[in-house]
């Protein structure tokens, strides 16, 4: 049991480092989609709710579990859909694609 917890602490720490590295690379341009995305992904807590709702160990646990399943599912369904809806709005200038794909810095050349 104790070793299990220690391993989990390692997982937590490593995931934390990966998280800092990954999230710091995300530009402010996409911070709102990022929030919606982490919301959708954190709907993974559904797996805990599923176990509680389906364990049938007590009526109260089942009720709590069912509400939790509904909340988590709403976050997953809503979260992924809204993230996709938002990301689909981010479009590049038509001409900029053909000109030069990575030219956000060149200010003068990209007017069309």
């Amino acid at each position: 049991m104790a070793t299990m917890t220690v391993i989990q602490l390692f997982v937590f720490m490593l995931a934390g480092f990966v998280g800092v590295q990954t999230i710091n690379r995300i530009p402010p341009l996409l911070h709102t989609p990022l929030m919606a995305a982490t919301n959708a992904i954190s709907g993974i807590s559904l797996v805990a709710s599923l176990v509680l709702a389906g364990s049938g160990e007590s009526v109260l646990a089942t009720i709590l579990g069912t509400i939790a399943v509904a909340c988590a599912t709403a976050n997953i369904v809503g979260g992924f859909l809204i993230t996709d809806r938002m990301l689909s709005m981010f479009k590049r200038t038509q001409t900029a694609v053909t000109e030069n794909s990575g030219s956000r810095v060149s200010s003068a050349g990209s007017s069309s």
Binding site: V20, H31, S45, A48, A68
Partner: protein, 461 residues
């Protein structure tokens, strides 16, 4: 299905989730990445359904159906301006799920006599973070949706009471670790956490919500981490850590952009407007108003134009009008960029989404750090519904309450056009030197109407 296969499914899901977050670093790869993450989510859920502890499925189906039906309209019908409320609400949902799981697992463990100290410690933290996030997010939702008053509600000893509540919660967690079976203490802690969530958001004003929403995102993540520890589930720990850190990083970025130290944010001192005591140190001067015709003429013949949208733009729903004006200037050969201050909207990156929705290509949306050097070259900078984020006093006047706040260097532009409703002060109540600068012309009126008129005039110029 064997436990190993379930765990491998979780491993795949974790991999896809991290890949999705990496894909979010570029707008062109982000969408595909999120679709892969959704696939990973489906795999993880399917695998979980085979878990040995699950013996009946009818309530799972009921819960999932209700959730799916609720989630669908919450995503497709919500306008982009309401995104902060929508995100706050989903934090509440996520945290409620975590809290209920925590309570449920505690009940099962209690009646089965299987409560172990380490598990109870995790459950305690889960319910604490979850409880605070549920009510905190609902409060944030209420304020953003304007169901509750948006102004800060302040009373004496507020911070002391919050600190006391927090200490009581910590005490309860410690107590539970020592005596895992004290149900009363567990219940008291749930109640205290829920109360703390309300009191913690109460003193925070509407414009400070970006920090709060980010911070609640972080707490929701921490609740998920605690769930993972409680039920020995690695993917919850991983996802919770990612979620928690993402919220924390955004909260720090936001508080920096709003000129508040993070410690200041954490201890709830924000929202209390220092502006009330602000001394008027701004240089005296007159604003010089201009006409639509004059302004349009200048825009029509400008080679480089930078648009500076503030939250006032979103309030008057004028994003489309701004984009149309920008398109017209571009059609005449001008180069148009949009300068985005980190706190231009009501949540991190909000203004980007609003302008992207209006059809502005994302390569024209430029972050503050990148665009600030380019104001010098701009012939005209158009400020729409922004005030504090363009106030040069933040850099020049140490006596100003907003001194030190990172701002868009609009005053470097060759000329400035400010679209403003009236002559009033900004959110912080500070005078803005930019408005009385000789090279600044003011165009008073509703932002939406002004932009429409400007576009009409540019068309015929």
């Amino acid at each position: 299905m064997s436990e190993i296969l379930i765990q491998l499914a979780y491993l795949l899901a974790a991999f896809l989730f991290i890949t999705a977050l990496r894909a979010l670093s570029r707008p062109d790869s982000a969408r595909r990445g999120m679709q892969l993450a959704a696939f990973g989510m489906a795999v993880a859920i399917m695998a979980t359904l085979f878990q040995a502890r699950i013996v009946s499925y009818e309530w799972i189906v009921v819960g999932a159906a209700v959730g799916a039906i609720a989630g669908y309209p919450l995503s497709l019908w919500v306008p982009m301006t309401a995104m902060p409320q929508r995100i706050a609400l989903s934090h509440a949902f996520g945290a409620l799920a975590a809290t209920l799981v925590g309570i449920g697992e505690y009940i099962i463990g209690f009646s089965g006599g299987t409560l172990v100290r380490s598990t109870v410690a995790a459950l305690g933290l889960e319910v604490f973070f979850g409880g605070v996030t549920v009510t905190g997010s609902l409060m944030a939702f209420g304020k953003l949706q304007e169901i509750l008053p948006g102004r800060p509600v302040i009373f004496r000893g507020q911070n002391a009471i919050n600190a006391l509540l927090f200490a009581a919660c910590c005490f309860c967690v410690v107590w539970l670790i020592v005596f895992p079976t004290h149900v009363v203490i567990f219940s008291v802690m749930v109640a205290l956490a829920v109360l703390l969530g309300v009191l913690f958001v109460l003193p925070i004003g509407g414009a400070d919500m970006p920090v709060v929403v980010s911070l609640l995102n972080s707490y929701a993540g921490l609740a998920a981490v605690a769930t993972g520890f409680a039920i020995d589930n690695n993917i919850l720990i991983i996802v919770g850590a990612l979620d928690g850190l993402s919220g924390l990083i955004l909260a720090i970025a936001m508080s920096k952009a709003m000129n508040r130290s993070f410690a200041n944010v954490l201890f709830g001192a924000f929202g209390s407007t220092q502006a009330a005591t602000a001394v008027e140190t701004a240089a005296a001067g007159e604003m010089s108003p201009t006409t639509t015709e004059n302004a349009a003429l200048r825009l029509a013949y400008a080679a480089r134009v930078i648009m500076v949208p503030g939250y006032g733009l979103a309030v008057s729903q004028a994003q489309h009008q701004m984009r149309e004006l920008g398109d017209l200037i571009e059609k005449r050969g001008g180069d148009v960029r949009y300068a985005i201050h980190p706190v231009a909207g009501r949540m991190p990156g909000h203004m980007n989404v609003l302008l992207a929705e209006a059809g502005v290509p994302y390569d024209k949306l430029v972050d503050m750090d990148e665009i600030n050097d380019r104001f010098v070259e701009a012939d005209v900078a158009i400020v729409v519904g922004a005030n504090d984020v363009v106030n040069p006093a933040a850099r020049t006047n140490p006596a100003s309450p907003i001194f030190g706040m990172p701002i868009l260097k609009v005053e470097d532009a060759k000329s400035v056009l400010v679209l403003k409703r009236g002559k009033g002060k900004g959110f912080s109540g500070v005078e803005n030197d930019l408005f009385i600068d000789p090279k600044t012309s003011m165009l008073f009126g509703d932002a939406r109407q002004s932009l429409l008129d400007l576009a009409l005039q540019v068309k015929v110029a």
